[in-house]
C-alpha cells in the first residue's frame, strides 16, 4: 500500500472513527455519557483479555524467540524516560518534578494505543507476534520507576513528611496497580492454562474484543476531548513535546524491535508501544509519589495530545518505518 492508502485504512477503521465520534459528541455538547461502571468494566475486560491472549500465545512460543524482544523492551523502558526527561529539562526548561512525572508517562505504555496498533496490523495484513501483550507488561513498570527516581532528588523531603508523596506507596502502586495485575495476571493465567484450555473462553475474550475496543474508544473520545480546552493553557511547547518525543521514541522502538528479530508487524507494534504514553498506571503512581506534580500537565499531554496523535498519525508512520527498516 502507498503511505496515503495506509493512512486512509487507519482513518477509516471502526476504532478511529469511534474515537472521532466521541470527540464530535463533546464538541456538539451532547449529553452522551458512559456510566462510570461501564468505563471501569471495559478497561478490566480489555486489560485481562490482552493478558490472556498474550499468555496463551506465549505458551506455544519457544522461549528463545521471546528473550531477545523482552530484553530490548526492558532496555527501551529504561532509556526512553531519560530521553523524555532530558528533552523536558533541556529544551522545555520544566522543573524536575513535572519533568520526572512526564518522563514516567512517556516511558511507560498505553494499552489502548497498543491495541489500536495490533488491530491496524491485522487490517493491513501485517500481523504481529502473538506474545506482544507480554511485552506491554514488561514495558509498563520500569519506565515509571525511572521517571519517579528522576524527580525524586528534588522531592526527597516528600518521603518523610506525612500526607505528601510516599516512595514505597508509589512502587507498591506501580507493581500492584490494577492495570499490571490484570495484564500480568492475564498473561500468567493464559500461559499456565495453555492455548487448548483457553479455547472455551475465546468467544468472550477474543471474538468480542474488537467490538468492545470500539466501544471503549468512543468513550476515550469523550474523555480525551474534554481535555482539549486545557490545551490552550498548556501551550504550543507541550504540543511539540507530545508529538516529537513520541515520534523519536517510535523510531527507537521500531529500530530496536527489528534488531531484536521481531517481524515487520511486531517491530511496528513495539514502536507504537514505546511511542505511546501511559494514562492509567503512570498517573496513579505519580499522584502518589509526586503529588506536587501538575496532573493538568501530564494528563493533557498523554491523553489530550499524544494519544490522539498516535492513534491517527503515529501508528501508520511506525508501520511505514517498520517496512523500511525491515526490508
Amino acid at each position: 500500500m502507498s503511505p496515503a492508502e495506509i493512512l486512509a485504512t487507519n482513518l477509516l477503521s471502526p476504532v478511529v472513527l469511534a474515537f472521532g465520534l466521541g470527540v464530535a459528541a463533546t464538541l456538539v455538547k451532547s449529553d452522551l455519557e458512559f456510566p462510570e461502571a461501564l468505563y471501569q468494566s471495559l478497561s478490566i475486560y480489555l486489560l485481562l483479555a490482552i493478558g490472556l491472549k498474550g499468555g496463551a500465545a506465549l505458551s506455544v512460543t519457544p522461549i528463545g524467540q521471546f528473550l531477545g524482544p523482552a530484553a530490548v523492551t526492558i532496555l527501551l523502558g529504561l532509556v526512553t524516560p531519560l530521553t523524555a526527561f532530558a528533552f523536558l529539562l533541556g529544551v522545555m526548561r520544566i522543573d524536575r518534578i513535572n519533568a520526572g512525572a512526564l518522563a514516567a508517562h512517556y516511558g511507560s505504555v498505553s494499552a489502548v494505543t497498543f491495541l489500536a496498533a495490533v488491530t491496524f496490523g491485522e487490517a493491513t495484513r501485517v500481523p504481529s507476534e502473538g506474545f506482544m501483550p507480554a511485552l506491554v507488561a514488561l514495558l509498563e513498570v520500569p519506565a515509571i520507576v525511572v521517571g519517579l527516581l528522576l524527580a525524586r532528588g528534588a522531592s526527597a523531603r516528600a518521603v518523610r513528611e506525612e500526607g505528601s508523596g510516599s516512595w514505597a506507596g508509589a512502587i507498591h502502586e506501580v507493581v500492584t496497580g490494577k492495570s499490571i495485575i490484570l495484564l500480568v495476571g492475564g498473561v500468567l493465567v493464559g500461559w499456565v492454562a495453555g492455548k487448548e484450555r483457553m479455547a472455551p473462553v475465546e468467544p468472550f475474550f477474543v471474538a468480542g474484543f474488537q467490538g468492545a475496543l470500539t466501544l471503549f474508544l468512543l468513550e476515550m473520545g469523550l474523555v480525551a476531548s474534554r481535555r482539549l480546552r486545557d490545551l490552550r493553557e498548556a501551550g504550543i511547547l507541550l504540543v511539540a513535546f507530545g508529538t516529537f518525543v513520541p515520534l523519536a521514541h517510535g523510531v527507537l522502538g521500531v529500530w530496536g524491535g527489528t534488531l531484536a528479530g521481531l517481524s515487520e508487524g511486531g517491530a511496528a507494534v513495539l514502536g507504537t508501544m514505546v511511542a505511546s504514553a501511559s494514562y492509567i498506571a503512570a498517573p496513579a503512581a505519580v499522584r502518589i509519589a509526586l503529588p506536587e506534580a501538575k496532573p493538568s500537565l501530564y494528563l493533557t499531554a498523554s491523553l489530550g495530545i499524544t494519544f490522539p496523535f498516535n492513534l491517527v498519525l503515529g501508528i501508520p508512520v511506525y508501520f511505514a518505518l517498520a517496512r523500511i527498516f525491515g526490508g
Binding site: P291, S296, L299
Partner: protein
Amino acid sequence: METKSATMVTIVAERLLRDRLVEKIRALGAKGFTLTEVQGQGTRGWQAHEFEGPSVKIETLVRAEVAEQIVDAVAKYFEHHAVIVYLSDAKVVRLKKF
C-alpha cells in the same frame, strides 16, 4: 427516645486518599464511617474520575474532640491534594456508639 449531640465530620477527597483517610480516622477513634462516591469540582478543577475512579465523601459521627483531631489530620493534605473537610452538628441516640 432522647437524643444527644455529636459532631459530623465530612471529608470530600480524591479517591487516591480514600484508604489513607479511612485508616487515619479509625486510628483517631472514629467507631464507624459512611463512604459515598461523588464527583466534585473545586479550586483544583474536576477530578479526573475516569482514571482514579470517582472522588469519595467520608462521613463520620464522632465526639467534638475527635472531630478536632480529624480536621488537623486532613489538613496535612491541603497543600497537594483535592480535599476539603467540614463539621456540622448532629443529634444521635446511643451516644456511646460514636
